[in-house]
Symmetry: C2
Subunit: 236 residues, 2 copies
């Protein structure tokens, strides 16, 4: 907020917090990965070049802008960092940490979460900015602000959704086998899933439908390809 | 935000939005109601005594404060209006409507939703402020800002939760019959529910347990009292 640093302590306390948008975006692998990269949950981060937290990594985002909705700001700052449009974007939570130091301006962060599948990166430019990189959530660098908490909340949301319904397809291409769907589900919930149980639940969910196409090249019982039934994103 | 009205248009656009918290709180009836008041969804509102929207009704809430979390602000402003502590409070959504008029300061509203049961009002003072009143959601007065949208979103959240799980018990006392539970569920989802189906679903949900107590005074098949199993609030 302009002029904020010229205010004294009492004036700073009268001032409202600033509002920023941050997005935790998940993919199963970084863009343009070598084919043998093991799958996991990866997130794009931006390295800060200015204080506070200079040198630490932060989620893509930025301050709200006068003429843009919160969702527009989330999408545009994410695309600016990753060079790719996500196939899913939803508000996650508003974080309003109380900064008890009068030296720090209080910030309310409206966090979003997003999902990418591999083909979302196909038309994307390679990122040549050394201050932008993808990290696996299992090996995150030092994070600025409360962004570690935001990523943690994003993973929880993803896992909870995965147990209520299927979000796995947003990591997959349009057509997929049940084995592919299960493997992605296992990455999200971070544990092995019984194939027969998973198959039964998936088929009875009403969420996936057969495409009529089977996997080419298989000799015995070629796997069927499925796609997701058209459902509106659940906003709860 | 102090001094905001002294800024010119260009300066206003540079300024960040202000941040407010608003809470849509539901009960099945207003506090201290006559016993024959029909049940419905009721919400407390506060009449504005200053521009903008002078005379219109608004959700309880207020600007964020320097040393309070968003949730504290939501709870305190709600209790100040209703004189009663809700038994449930959760963040609903961050609304960041874009005000395209340079005359209006842009506000980001972090909305919460809350639930009251009748006994939450027992120790509450009667509200003698003429600018605070409870309204049925079916007959709302003219609302300030985007508060009609917030109430609509709150009702949707409540209905969606009611279809995923049971939120009805937060409107009921600790012990209740299945008929009471169903009647509250019908108020929330705003339609009749088949008693036998509801009974079967409720009993198989694992969410309610028998108390071992039955309704006094009944001659034939006295109704059993149930209570909710201890579950953490689902945050998704």
């Amino acid at each position: 907020m302009r002029g904020w640093h010229s205010l004294n302590v009492a004036e700073r306390r009268m001032h409202g917090p600033s509002v920023a948008v941050s997005t935790v975006a998940f993919s199963l692998a970084p863009p343009h990965r070598p084919a043998d990269t093991p799958q996991g949950l990866w997130v794009p981060l931006v390295q800060r070049t200015r204080p506070p937290y200079k040198g630490a990594w932060a989620l893509p985002g930025g301050p709200t802008q006068w003429d843009k909705t919160l969702t527009q700001t989330a999408r545009e700052t994410l695309v600016a960092a990753t060079q790719a449009e996500p196939n899913y974007l939803e508000q996650l939570y508003a974080f309003g940490s109380v900064e008890r130091s009068a030296q720090a301006e209080r910030t309310v962060t409206i966090a979003y979460w997003a999902q990418y599948r591999e083909s979302d990166f196909e038309s994307a430019a390679r990122i040549d900015d050394p201050h932008v990189a993808w990290f696996p959530t299992s090996r995150l660098p030092e994070l600025a602000f409360d962004h570690a908490e935001i990523i943690h909340t994003g993973i929880q949301r993803l896992q909870r959704r995965a147990s209520q319904t299927f979000v796995a397809h947003r990591f997959l291409e349009r057509h997929f086998t049940l084995a592919q769907l299960r493997e992605v589900h296992e990455v999200i919930v971070d544990k092995r899933v019984d194939p027969a149980n998973f198959r039964r639940q998936a088929l009875s969910s009403g969420e996936i439908v057969e495409t009529g196409v089977t996997q080419a090249g298989a000799k015995h019982r070629p796997a069927k390809f499925y796609r997701f039934a058209d459902n509106n994103a659940r906003q709860d």
